[in-house]
């Protein structure tokens, strides 16, 4: 960013979500583009964790941000853009899984694809020698095997660091239900890792 831009206030990266949302509502396409730049990667990663399929995750992230654009006037509090757009994306991801499961149970080919879809996780770098490739793969397979809603809770908490209250809001669950799902997810993952050892 040039100094001139900073002085002229064009540094979109420095603007709050609320400011960008208001500008975008005002018809400023560049402001919405800045929101896309800010959120497309975190949304894609969230959705990838939930649906465990790269192409599907790209489609869902794309749809979620287009929906966000179309409903921009509907956000009561523009400062809450992040949880709002995460809500759109995670619920769409859960819908896609529900539809996929329905199709899978309709056909006899219910087992197809899961094993191919799993390596969605980040590859460990060489500096992460303490944690082996096999451990990463095991954990990502265990996560993929969690019930979808539990998986969504876990990802929103551990990767995106939402509070229990916010996760409840995003997934339309009570805070107590979120606590329960998270505890069960963690225990299932922990026990899976123990069994793997």
């Amino acid at each position: 960013m040039s100094t001139e831009n900073a002085v002229r206030g064009l540094d979109r990266a420095a603007m709050t979500d609320a400011t960008l949302v208001e500008q975008a509502r005002d018809g400023d396409v560049g402001a919405f583009e800045a929101l896309v730049d800010r959120y497309q990667v975190p949304i894609f990663r969230l959705v990838l964790r939930i649906v465990v399929d790269r192409t599907e995750a790209e489609d869902i992230a794309q749809d979620a941000l287009i929906t966000a654009w179309r409903r921009l006037d509907g956000i009561a509090d523009p400062a809450r853009f992040r949880p709002w757009v995460f809500q759109i994306a995670s619920n769409r991801a859960l819908d896609v899984i529900r539809e996929r499961d329905r199709k899978a149970s309709d056909s006899l080919d219910a087992d197809s694809g899961l094993h191919e879809r799993i390596p969605a996780s980040a590859e460990p770098g060489p500096e992460r020698a303490a944690i082996t490739q096999a451990q990463w793969q095991t954990l990502s397979q265990l996560v993929a095997a969690l019930p979808p809603r539990q998986r969504a809770c876990w990802v929103l908490r551990e990767f995106d660091e939402f509070s229990y209250t916010e996760i409840g809001h995003i997934l339309h669950m009570t805070e107590a239900a979120v606590r329960g799902q998270l505890a069960r997810a963690r225990m299932a993952l922990a026990e899976g890792m123990v069994a793997w050892k």
């Binding site: 500008q23 005002d26 400023d28 790209e58 954990l139 123990v194």
Partner: protein, 180 residues
């Protein structure tokens, strides 16, 4: 250990055990076999999860292809709502007008010329006489009584230059942001 609820057989909640992973075991956890075992398994998971999340944050390869943003912005540009037309003046050639969005753009570009000011919305509140409602967010360090008149002058100057008229301006500081 079979866990079907979020409670261990000893009655303690798993969440409580998880929250205590980063400290030493408390009195109950030291003597309770259920809790000791749960702490061990959860501690491993805690480390692994944190490493995974950190690794992913720094891993540029886990991101959507360029087609995603391109498709989003195509739709946004196509659907861009230009808003109502605002009549500017009557002349022998008929009525000149400007779209509300274009008017807002003039206002925004002027306001963001003032350091620390992030313009937000510009709405036509009244057509006769033309009255604009403009909201801004201001960086905390530059917030002072003179700022509003500076912003007002800058916007008024731009509108006079671009449109040849000087609408009534309702300027509202809607938010204060940190200075970056």
């Amino acid at each position: 250990m079979e866990v079907t609820s979020d409670r261990l057989p000893c009655g303690r909640g798993l969440e409580q055990v998880w929250n205590g992973i980063d400290r030493g075991p408390d009195d109950h956890e030291r003597t309770c076999p259920d809790c000791s075992q749960a702490r061990l398994t959860l501690a491993d998971l805690s480390v692994l999860t944190r490493e995974w999340a950190q690794q992913e944050t720094s891993d540029a390869s886990v991101q959507p292809g360029g087609r995603v943003k391109a498709a989003i912005m195509d739709v946004v540009r196509t659907e861009f709502r230009s808003g109502q037309r605002v009549p500017l003046e009557h002349s022998d050639w008929g009525e000149l007008s400007i779209r509300e969005a274009a008017l807002a753009k003039v206002v925004r570009e002027a306001a963001q010329g003032v350091p620390g000011v992030h313009p937000r919305r510009c709405r036509v509140a009244e057509l006769e006489p033309l009255t604009l409602e403009v909201t801004i967010s201001v960086a905390a360090p530059v917030l002072n009584p003179d700022l509003l008149s500076t912003v007002r002058e800058v916007i008024d100057g731009a509108l006079t230059r671009e449109l040849g008229q000087s609408p009534t301006l309702n300027l509202v500081v809607e938010d204060v942001h940190d200075d970056h």
